[in-house]
Assembly symmetry: C2
């Protein structure tokens, strides 16, 4: 079974892809709005992981809707979730997609769908929706991250990547200015990005033979 | 990292073990009260999966407490959860255990711990608690089950296995009789058991080389 994994280049979606890759045929899909130059970075991580990768550009109206929600709320959670739901649906309705997945974790608050929303998505769009990290806490995921990746941690404001938050921040900055960004987004919030896989592991014959998919 | 997986011989705990076995050192642990002769069956499935396996006999008072709860409630959920919590704690406090896991799924209602209970267990006992199937729906798990196992499905009343429900039913039957069992447990409730792994898969060199644990 082919699984399309929503992929930001961050450590969670990277670990999710590795897990699923042991059992399913994985493709990585990065959904964004094309307003930040994240393409090269994300593609290079996807290449290191060794899975096929494609970009999907979402409708600009979604970013505008999310921005309005975030500015009204005064916090980013619902806007980020709105984008994530659109991304999941967009990928799920592609003609050859049977299963979608993401890297949301047990301890995540955003952008986590409720069980009812998950079941609705699966039955409306006739897909499998898998969250392979849902049963893993941060401490356990860190064991795997340390094993597989070298990570770069930076304040969100300085980070360039494909998380929805970065384009949301940028759009709010362009429209309303820096003060509004500072009002809405938590200060000193850091994001991590996979800068390198531990090549000695991924290039090992052990890993290359490791897929038990049928 | 070694992970001790609570193992009933059913399809969910078997799939959970296979998933974890790709990334961690897995041992299977079957917790029960020794009042039903499930040992041989469970051990033979564990052998087919190829992981080390041990039995743990829980304190008989736990079964008595669970039985009283079930009889008072008139339904089995809280009693089954009580046994599961004791089993998790019992395994977690073993001297060399760093991580525990079980086969609870996204769509399970029983015996699922709340997020607060999960976090409490992890921090009190200083373990990782992993639920590898938590992000998978029944439909997706069935894809994996069909790939790896031959399954036997029977009414719970006729089933012999290591699920807590079977010993609870037996204890209530001995103490209160069949009528009480019928009052409490859902009629025509079926349970499935792995009767055989698809040997052509598990014996393949592909699978034997497949572990990417380090």
């Amino acid at each position: 079974m082919k699984v399309s994994v929503l992929f930001s280049g961050g450590k969670d979606s990277s670990i999710a892809a590795i897990m699923l890759g042991q059992f399913f045929e994985v493709e990585l899909v990065t959904c964004n709005f094309g307003i930040l130059p994240a393409c090269h970075l994300v593609r290079s991580i996807a290449n290191e992981l060794g899975f096929p990768h494609r970009f999907v550009q979402l409708e600009p109206e979604i970013l505008q809707d999310a921005m309005r929600l975030v500015v009204t709320d005064g916090f980013p959670n619902n806007g980020i979730k709105l984008i994530h739901c659109h991304a999941l649906e967009h990928v799920a309705i592609s003609s050859d997609v049977q299963a979608i997945a993401d890297g949301t974790r047990r301890d995540d608050r955003v952008p986590v769908l409720s069980l009812s929303e998950v079941l609705s998505l699966e039955s409306r769009l006739n897909v499998h929706y898998i969250r392979p990290l849902e049963g893993y806490g941060r401490k356990t995921i860190n064991v795997l991250v340390d094993r597989y990746f070298e990570i770069e941690e930076k304040e969100s404001a300085l980070m360039k990547g494909a998380e929805y938050e970065f384009e949301l921040r940028e759009e709010i900055k362009r429209r309303y200015g820096d003060t509004e960004v500072q009002r809405i987004f938590p200060r000193h919030h850091t994001h991590s990005r996979v800068i390198k896989t531990r090549a000695e592991f991924f290039e090992s014959p052990e890993f290359k033979r490791a897929k038990v998919r049928t």
